[in-house]
Symmetry: C2
Subunit: 240 residues, 2 copies
Amino acid sequence: MIEFPPESRPKLIACNVPDMVPTVPVSVDLVVLTVRSQALCALVWRRDHPPYTGCWALSGGFIKLDEDLPAAAERVLAERAGLPGAPVHLEQLQTYGYPDRDPRERVVSVAYLGLAPDLPASTEAHMSWRAVAELTEMAFDHRRIMLDGIERARAKLEYTSLGAAFCPPEFTVADLRRVYEIVWGRPLDPRNFHRKVTKAEGFLLPTSHTTTRDGGRPAKLYRRGPAELLHPPMLRSLKE
Amino acid sequence: MIEFPPESRPKLIACNVPDMVPTVPVSVDLVVLTVRSQALCALVWRRDHPPYTGCWALSGGFIKLDEDLPAAAERVLAERAGLPGAPVHLEQLQTYGYPDRDPRERVVSVAYLGLAPDLPASTEAHMSWRAVAELTEMAFDHRRIMLDGIERARAKLEYTSLGAAFCPPEFTVADLRRVYEIVWGRPLDPRNFHRKVTKAEGFLLPTSHTTTRDGGRPAKLYRRGPAELLHPPMLRSLKE
DNA sequence: TAAATAGTGTCTATTAGACAGTATCGT
DNA sequence: ACGATACTGTCTAATAGACACTATTTA
């Protein structure tokens, strides 16, 4: 790639539109999901100014002039979502650019999906975890973005090891199963689930620790393994 | 959604950056793939002006002020890629926003993936189909974008019926199998493939037509069925 | 002891992969 | 007839789903 110092860059001349290349603000919006209190939750804040005053909104922010998109997402996660340095898996979700999605001015928004363990929401950043089932009235097209993020998360649990991103650093097979059950919204057979995830190469790394429990046999604790893709995948069957 | 006529829209005031919201040109770039001459090919043109003079490039264009992203992709497909009205499956791929990806000025590019049957490339638009294996030197980050598109296409053949998007309206099971073989780059057993796709509910709609051939039994012709997702998916095994 | 949770083994129906064999065309 | 391609059936190994059973803790 040829390098230009920023101030000396020649201005862009598009082939068929040499004079008029419209520019728009580009924002990054974050769908941060977690599993807590037996529900799939999203990290949101309540808007206190127009438009959409009182509605729940995703955390977001505008990209800076020389900032990469992943860097912008990390910055929004730290500064706006109030989760600096948290172990959140971030990946680009989709870009939303319908002209009237922000009534004030056209904004193109690159949405990122974040999968997080059950972290405390930052009161300083005025964020809170809300069950996604109750987030029916949201600002802008944030409900659509959130639903797209949830569907991506559901699909990714099938063929990747990302379910562990919802868990703390050390977790039990039952913890992981509850993540799958809540994200997919259906019960899974504990014994078959156990067999599957422990036999999937690179999914779980055993540790020497166990849990202490109110009753019942202590469970082995595992860490996330190196595998990103699962072969074969954990398919949601069609039944039910 | 509250409606404002465009001219009366209040300007955007971001929470923490009330004065300075940088704006950037947003483009749409198209990775249009097809299968022809036993190879996976991409629709590209050879740049005749700087930067990257002489390099192959994807077709692209800037979004207009009040144009939706899918509409921009359709317009670029028609006007720049030279495929107006063609039966091309278009879906958003990913957004690329690294600040120096265009050496002239920062451009955020929303890439779309297009899957097309074997159509003639428009000479008027100076486009041509090139085998992706030979597209090693491309302009900007277009090679990375193309590779991301190819990987998306490979994955989508597993769990959707999109392989048929590479075929003409009526096609044989062998046609479809050759698509899979070329996109995945590995031979498939014709008999097992036949069994799988004909038994997958909603994948193929039988017609009353058959092919005429140079030799060999004529094959039944099928049309794309209504199913979008395949249950169970056609998994690429790990072998080989 | 009972209750609760963790983990293992076993059976069966389904499926993937391999491949023999049949069907129907052109020459 | 023969080669070529389309299609069907069959065997086997692997897997998913169902579920009986054992293991280890707290109360």
